[in-house]
Amino acid sequence: MKEKAWFNIVFMLVCTAVFTGILSGVYAYSRPIIQANTGVIGITAQMNALGISVPAGGETDLESYYKEIISEENINGMTVYKYESENGRLYYAIPFEGSGLWGKITGIIALDQDLKTVIGMDFISQNETPGLGGRIEEEWFKEQFRGITLFEEGDPIRFPASGSEGQVDAITGATATSTAVAGIINESIREARSKLGGGH
């Protein structure tokens, strides 16, 4: 009996080593592919937010094109992506991140150099309820943000409520997600104002 208990432990250890070993191998093999996928999603989100049409062609084309036109910069401890638009104005693409209803929501919001106008926005990842909060990924919701003017006082972005003004519509039936998204974006706009505001 004593021998058997000893064998159980060894068996378990060997089993775990074999299975996790195989998994590590598969993961090591597919990690570059996964990273490339994630990279493409991030780049595409930035370009969508900045209103740049994503060029057709392979991933390498996309990446070199991206590096040509967009530069990463750290301003006062905040990572922003700068892009000089055709009309000569500087656009900032600012990553945002925060808690949604179920999990983390990440994305990009692009602002004009005056930090008063939104150029556009896009999401990178979200785990909201499919069909309800998950609808923040739909075009109509994201396109609402294009070109809106931010409020100077209070929350920069608001949903119109009775008796108050707002620029974008929330999603019916997904109040928690809508509020969370507005909160996360407003937070990053405030940070951008305090860190980028004085610099130019």
Binding site: K4, M12, I34, S125, T129, G131
Partner: protein, 215 residues
């Protein structure tokens, strides 16, 4: 041999269906069934994991020490689920994005461990694989039925294609998890009352037969 395979398929898909008869896998039946396409991918994921887990457990069944067998089963299931997750992320990033955390939740699906413990532990590898696959498909079948009802009433669409016209007012409740309870309960009710009636009376006869012989 052929009839054994037929029997397994019939049981897993219908008369002993994991969801409507064994009431297993209910958690994911509630979580993923509001869109048909997500449900199908989830179902196929479960079928894949169940089939390969059963196969592996069956291959190892004679050398796994009896006391640690459930730990080994969990390890094997987790192995396949993580494999599916990695492969989806690498080769189907869009699908992986749409399913989000659900893929990882396949680990918690009771059907998989149920089949490992109830079938694969005492049967040969190939038939265990088949049994796991059929149970996974039985699960997919019921979930898809729920998803069709929910997506149709909740969005007016199936597979994202508009079926009901603009006059249709979507039922928000159908998009939320509670509606899966109503739909699943209705399906169980209908199948038990009508479709499985024959099987039930046949079962009662057998029980009577046993009692008679006991006396």
């Amino acid at each position: 041999m052929g009839s054994q395979y037929k029997e397994i398929a019939k049981k897993a898909l219908w008369t002993d269906n994991p969801v409507i008869r064994q009431i297993l896998g209910i958690c994911s039946a509630l979580a993923v069934t509001n869109l048909v396409s997500n449900t199908l991918v989830m179902g196929l994921g479960v079928a894949f994991v169940t089939a390969f887990s059963s196969f592996t457990v069956s291959v190892l069944r004679n050398i796994i020490p009896i006391r640690v067998r459930m730990m080994v089963q969990t390890l094997i299931i987790a192995f396949y689920v993580i494999l599916v997750d990695i492969l989806l992320k690498a080769f189907y990033p869009d699908m992986s994005r749409a399913l989000g955390p659900y893929v990882g939740l396949i680990i918690t699906n009771c059907i998989i461990m149920g089949r490992c413990e109830a079938f694969a532990q005492s049967n040969k590898p190939v038939i265990s694989f088949y049994d796991g696959l059929m149970s996974g498909l039985g699960y997919t079948l019921v979930l898809t039925a729920i998803a069709v009802v929910r997506e149709l009433l909740g969005f007016g669409t199936i597979f994202g294609l508009r079926i009901l016209g603009d006059w249709w007012v979507p039922w928000t409740i159908m998009v939320m998890a509670p509606s899966a309870f109503f739909v699943l309960a209705s399906i169980i009710w209908v199948t038990k009352t009508f479709a499985l009636k024959k099987e039930k009376t046949a079962g009662q006869k057998v029980i009577r037969g046993v009692q008679a012989s006991g006396n």
